[in-house]
Symmetry: C2
Subunit: 120 residues, 2 copies
DNA sequence: TTATCACATGAACGATTGTTCATATGAATG
DNA sequence: CATTCATATGAACAATCGTTCATGTGATAA
């Protein structure tokens, strides 16, 4: 499956060696591509998407998110943890309550672009 | 876990009923949010991200993608199928060879925005 | 301090997902 | 036609992921 395995490689006729040697160095670092996939993985769950849309316009506490989405506080809290680790949301404590909000307009843009795509 | 379950709900004091009743109707349709998550799920895999970046500038055949990424033709083909179903890539047949390319600039924008986010 | 409330977290189970292997399709060539 | 080559696809297994349940943490108030 790796290079040099003749069985899995195309013939000389199909494999455009010059194209390949040109493309390879133009790719971003392997690690960045991995991190990028990890980022989109966070967007790739309907519960998290719904949470992000709840936060689209307002700053909301965990309890209210759970209430709006009809899910347990625990499930929401687990997802908020992932969203925060990915820096898609930020949190602010006020007494016993913790308010969450979208981290920046970057998140809004990505959500908007995605929404445009599926509406085509 | 659904509404009306007192155990899982916050108290009156925490639950901001007016905020909730204001937020709920502002959310996009449940189905759209689900579809949006499905879209981002496609971006959320490093193999697919790498394929998309191979296609970022050039139109490339399946065999060459496999060669550049050092993976089997089968694995690449399976992923290209998902990418095409999500309309992130388009394909063009030329004899025995099938060339793939990014579907539109929408895809480029989403990739670019994501890349900016992780580089912050 | 003790009790209560809002939220966070660890373990575990069921469901989803990506790869491999084997095989099938579809196009060109002899 | 039969063969070859590029690609597509089905089944199956390992690994990852999201939820639930139980419990822990941090803050307020009595």
């Amino acid at each position: 499956m790796l290079d040099g395995n003749g069985v899995e490689r195309c013939d000389e006729f199909c494999t455009h060696d010059d194209l390949i040697s040109k493309l390879r160095p133009e790719l971003p670092e392997e690690e960045k591509l991995y991190d990028l996939a990890e980022l989109f993985k966070i967007f790739g769950d309907s519960t998290r998407i719904r949470i992000l849309y709840v936060l689209f316009k307002a700053e909301v506490c965990v309890c209210d998110i759970a209430e709006v989405l009809g899910m347990t506080q625990s499930a929401i809290s687990h997802q908020l943890r992932l969203l925060k680790q990915a820096k898609l949301v930020r949190s602010r404590r006020e007494g016993k309550t913790v308010f969450y909000a979208l981290a920046d307009d970057h998140v809004r843009t990505i959500l908007g672009q995605g929404m445009e795509h599926i509406e085509e």
